[in-house]
Amino acid sequence: MVVEIQEPAPRQKVHHVAVPRQARRGMTVLLKVYRHNPSAAGDKPRMVTYRVPNTKGLTVLDALLWVKEHVDPGLAFRYSCRMGICGSCGMLINGKPALGCETQIAELGTDVVEVGPLTNYPVIRDVATDFTDFFSHHRTVRPYLIRQEEATGPVRRELLQTEEEKLAYYQFAMCIMCGLCDAACPVVAMDREYLGPQALAQAYRFLADSRDQGWEERMEAVDAPHGCFRCELAGSCSAVCPKGVDPDLGTQLLKRAVLRGRLKGT
């Protein structure tokens, strides 16, 4: 892999940019970014290093935006809300899947930061990855409330829940679909058909919902050769979740529910 350092172009010198005082005193970070455009013939993966002025509270996403604005407008990465809500800016930061907007450079404890695309996803370009399979797996588990009465018409009453019933699934409803759990999962790395921790946790989220009646529909996807029983309990999905969701717990609870259902003959 070729490593090259790209400084700002002469016409975009650092002192022309609104660089904070710390940066002018030499406080910079080296941002090593994976660059690759698979659709361009002959383009090979490489790490390109940029010198970025370090400021208080600078996040990895801020650093990438600085590079895009001042050095290389062609740098591709995905982002939207910049506040850990949308889940768009998942990337590999110093080898670990994380959200770029939630990871401050200072908390990494180093002034050399490596940024790459999420593992287990095909690269579209640079840090941007293709989530087609991820969303397909998510849709497979039918991530919505299924009511049998809807077949005969719309629901005409409120579906009430106790606090206890809500807590049975609540943490799994916090998922923002950033895909970090699937990027960290060793089974997803091996098995492209495996539903993955995100989809399985969402399957449990709806199975555990007292208002849901979609057991049979979800079992077709979950109780299958590439369903919940492929989970190998690595636990890495839960370790990287930026929202504190425990997809591994969801998967194990799902396995238990499926096995109990089988014993009851459902």
Binding site: D191, E193, M219, D223, F229, R230, L259, G261, R262
Partner: protein
């Protein structure tokens, strides 16, 4: 067959394996024989095959170990490639292996039990 059914059978086989393997090792080590050396002699082994209890234990051990081992092999192979054709190929291969292993093993137990 659904994956949960296979998994449930696997759990039952694991329990059977634990019990029968413990009994098998105990019989080799200290139940009725004087240490491993005596237990592994040809005449002692053949005599054990001719006892109904030992032969049954061996048969259960064989079935449990075969199922557990091949179920694990199937899981590993399923992860290696994708597609329904591969899934069917793996399941078919594993079933074929099970038939061969169980057929050969049970035949040995039955023949030895019969006094051949």
């Amino acid at each position: 067959m659904r994956e949960s059914t296979l998994q449930l059978v696997n759990y039952v086989m694991v329990l059977a394996l634990l019990v029968t393997l413990a009994l098998h090792l105990a019989m080799q080590a200290f139940l009725g024989v004087s240490g491993y050396e005596g237990a592994l002699s040809y005449s002692t082994a053949l005599a054990r095959y001719r006892e109904p209890l030992s032969a049954s234990l061996l048969a259960i051990l064989l079935v449990a170990a075969t199922y557990h081992g091949l179920f694990g092999l199937r899981n590993i192979l399923l992860e290696m490639r994708s597609g329904p054709r591969w899934d069917r190929f793996v399941t078919g291969t594993v079933l074929g292996l099970a038939v061969v292993m169980l057929g050969w093993g049970l035949r040995t137990i039955v023949v030895a039990f019969g006094g051949a």
